[in-house]
Symmetry: C2
Subunit: 249 residues, 2 copies
Amino acid sequence: MKQNKYDDAHFFAAYEKMPRSVQGLEGAGEWHMLKALIPELRNKHVLDLGCGYGWHCRYAREQGASSVIGVDISAKMLQKARELNDDTSISYIQMPIEDIHFPDSPFDVVISSLVFHYIQSFDTICKKVYDCLKPGGTFVFSVEHPIFTARSEQDWVVDDQGNRLHWPVDNYQVEGIRETTFLAADVVKYHRTISTYMNDVIRSGFRIQTVQESEPSDEMLKLVPEMKDELRRPMFLMISAQKEMTPAN
Amino acid sequence: MKQNKYDDAHFFAAYEKMPRSVQGLEGAGEWHMLKALIPELRNKHVLDLGCGYGWHCRYAREQGASSVIGVDISAKMLQKARELNDDTSISYIQMPIEDIHFPDSPFDVVISSLVFHYIQSFDTICKKVYDCLKPGGTFVFSVEHPIFTARSEQDWVVDDQGNRLHWPVDNYQVEGIRETTFLAADVVKYHRTISTYMNDVIRSGFRIQTVQESEPSDEMLKLVPEMKDELRRPMFLMISAQKEMTPAN
């Protein structure tokens, strides 16, 4: 299933109001950690899978990337990307990310932020990313953390007063569809274990470089005191991996 | 702190009754997964960190390892290992695993089962394991899963009838001491995040090969129906990693 909630008017209107939509990357609590995983981009060719408003595409250009391609399934998202983050060296392509095909491995870096948990076949995406990267190229992505996606409810356990008691985990080893809600709409996510994320990346021929689990920056903790709950369970998992210079053994 | 609960008579008496003590490896629910991470052992030199009763040492010999060294802090454990799993090619050494020092990188494989969550400095252990492995050698270990160790209680949330509702996670990003109980005794464990386990291994010069999170075998599920709860949250994390043939970049 190639899901495109963002072209639904109500859903898109709600998405438009999120801090990460209004403020761009600085409004995303995990950006300080994802950014640290992105390699030097100067004179690099960059692909962004599920580019949304194009914030990462613009960031890549600001860092000196020579060309950037942003792929997204949603026409509305790309319209917004062209309004907010237009640049002659950025190309926005409307396409499900499952369908990408770039022959001759043109990219140095492939980025994807918070998209793969909407994708049924992560292993297929890994192989496609591998194929479109130059040897030595880097694959950096974030997903909702398996601790977060394990239960369909994807919410805290609270007491009678609404105080957050703990984060519940259940059905962790049962991978697959989670019918859940996001921005008051029904969405389908795919829960995968941490080991599946790691092993699919490795089996595609990548070498894992760094693994991160989101926690708020000190700055964010001061600015938004409720962010301290983000220390209680990780909402996002981030991985950087390198395509082997020579084929994997 | 170098913790040695196993030389406490009460604790040891309780440990002796555990299925994994009575039945050996087949009594350990995660063995089928850990075993799959262990490379070919024929004619290999093997080190087992925290060897306990020596079951893994014996397994290594049964698989054709030419020599095996088992290290454990507990005299009682090693006495039992010598009773149960004696072999002229197995040497048992009483020593905290933090103190190992084997010059000239003599080992092909280093195994450690369910020990590192008792160790304060995992990064130091990783470096020591790296130093004592031959280039191309394999490091395979299991630990209690960070989902399991996050809260000191390390137990299910149950309803009034004692039914398990879900597994609670809290304070995940707060690494360090968890004063908890095991076999009715107070023990100190060290909680670390998944990213710390991964990154410490990688930064020591290893390449992650496979990551596994425990789930019961089909056989175990048939034999012990309650094991189905082990699909609800992973109790153990297992990693295999290879020492680079050439120094890491």
